[in-house]
Symmetry: C2
Subunit: 346 residues, 2 copies
């Protein structure tokens, strides 16, 4: 028997709705001798407007005492851009040292892609999660004057790069195709780019079975739409990973299906799982959001906690559900959740 302590941050907009379905499927898939203890945290736009808080220290402290975190979506147009992103979402990723931001790009059978010709897409992006241009380093001078300047400093460490590169090699090694692509822009961002490249090449020597290549980020976007089947595992920097994984979501059927894990492989802090999509305020509260990305994020959560069979059952349920959607009328958020819960229980 096992108790899973799960912190839940539904967040803003459709976050509430999709998280409810994720938890429904989680409850349905767990073995009889396991149970989930969830603690819900009210964070996001509502709390910010009510109290001015984005992520109080006391909440950060409490969150640590969980096996994992499930997050819906953060952000609302009523809050200035960056406040919740930097003060809540990125703060969690940085505070809990989520250096492996794992984002599968898989086109499930039956799902239509905006790409012509039914491509075969099945790769995973390992996005660095705690460094690069995301560190928040920088500022403005002579703010609000015609002489204003603004800087953004990308910080990259051998320590931070090596651990994520090593993680990506291990993932590539464990996959049938055993292929790893480094994406950066080392012909322009020569300082950070060459550091990434040197470390990538050094670690490659320890994984002789993994075949490797390198692409500039601009060229990578071309291959994402012309030849997505060429990718197996991709490792890249925080910002390039952000951009590439939205594009990956688009070519694999949309952000309604894209799952992600913000992983701390050491287990020192809880890892956090969330759909790649945002809070979509335009459709919030209407039961229109597709909870599939959240359900797949729950599968990643289970996989991370070693509940491998349960994770696989969710994946199969999603695959079967997607294959049956073809030509059918759209279902509501809870209808999709019910269908998936029934499948994983059955």
């Amino acid at each position: 028997s096992r108790t899973l302590r799960l912190a839940v941050i539904p967040g803003d907009g459709i976050g509430q709705e999709v998280v409810a379905e994720g938890l429904k499927v989680l409850a349905a898939v767990l073995p009889a001798d396991s149970k989930v203890e969830t603690t819900e945290y009210d964070l996001g736009a509502r709390r910010y407007h009510a109290t001015g808080e984005t992520l109080p220290d006391s909440v950060l402290e409490e969150l640590k005492h969980n096996d994992a975190i499930l997050l819906g979506a953060i952000g609302d147009p009523s809050v200035p851009s960056g406040v919740l992103e930097r003060g809540l979402l990125l703060k969690l990723r940085f505070a809990f040292d989520h250096h492996v931001n794992l984002r599968p790009g898989k086109l499930f059978p039956g799902v239509s892609s905006p790409l012509a010709g039914e491509p075969q897409i099945d790769f995973v992006v390992v996005r660095e999660g705690t460094e690069g241009p995301y560190v928040g380093n920088g500022g403005t001078l002579r703010t609000g004057t015609p002489e204003e300047i603004a800087t953004e400093v990308s910080l990259n460490t051998a320590f931070g790069i090596e651990r994520v590169v090593r993680d990506a090699f291990a993932r590539a090694q464990a996959r049938p195709r055993k292929k790893l692509t480094l994406v950066h822009k080392n012909n322009v961002l020569v300082h950070a780019g060459h550091l990434w490249t040197r470390i990538f090449n050094a670690v490659a020597a320890e994984f002789p079975e993994v075949s490797t290549d390198y692409l500039h980020v601009d060229a990578a976007t071309i291959f994402f739409v012309t030849q997505p089947e060429r990718f197996d595992v991709i490792v890249t920097d925080n910002l390039f990973g952000d951009i590439l994984t939205d594009l990956a979501a688009a070519v694999t059927g949309g952000i309604g299906l894209a799952a992600s894990g913000n992983i701390n492989p050491s287990g020192a802090f809880p890892s956090m799982f969330e759909p790649v999509h945002g809070s979509a305020p335009d459709i919030a509260g209407q039961g229109k959001a597709d909870p599939t990305a959240t359900v797949l994020s729950v599968a990643m959560l289970l996989q991370h906690l070693g509940l491998v069979d349960e994770a696989a059952r969710i994946e199969s349920a999603v695959a079967a559900d997607l294959a049956e959607r073809i030509g059918k009328a759209p279902r509501s958020t809870s209808e999709v959740g019910d269908a998936l819960a029934a499948r994983v229980a059955g």
Copy 2:
């Protein structure tokens, strides 16, 4: 009668081949009373290996005495990544203050896109060309040790942003749809992102006829593949523009067709026109490269110099040529150039 002084930098790989066709079409399109005086500059990998030089000051000085520069492609695997890019291509863009990096994204009739459903694509990206993460600011500390750190500093000035934003508004104003989209990542890169956003909003007030919107760069990549018809003019930072314009090229039929201009609108220094594609060493010297991107870059060059009719004739010739390619066997580089030269002369 008019004499056009043109500096030509064929560069590496397929650069030589495509530039030859660009010049062929240029000669054919010019009115009888105009002539071109070309000076060819041997810059790129060969010169670097022979002399260690990337862009000698004397050449930079000579280049100034031209009306425009036509560049083929720079880069070769025999040269360490970044040496020619930073020491030659970017050095030219920065030295000649090419702050408007103009890159049309147009799907010509008959050209097949990797996107399903024959989308209508006709936008132009105004990429800032002299600031942002491209400035080369940054470095490494404890290089080569496990404690190494590398930085990249993105520099952004109100001066630099305002002039390119203003240019983009003017271009949007002159187009039928009059729509301008700012792309940045102001929810994470809050210092630079908010400066861009503030200036964009301020300049917008001067162009009441232009409708505007804002997209994060990650979301923009999604729309590039799911709804490219939503874009008219896009203005963005140097790095985001690099990434988006390769993706734009991919969805509009490939980098064989993507033209660009590195423009100094003041005319203080010559503007430079080049295909978006690289030197493609794998197909160099085989007559396989498509010179269309270079020919379209020549059209942009003529447009910039006020030879508007000639520019339009090249565009029409390319459109007609592309429409006739459907189902035909591929032609060689010079066959395409000959066909286009014949069309513009006729």
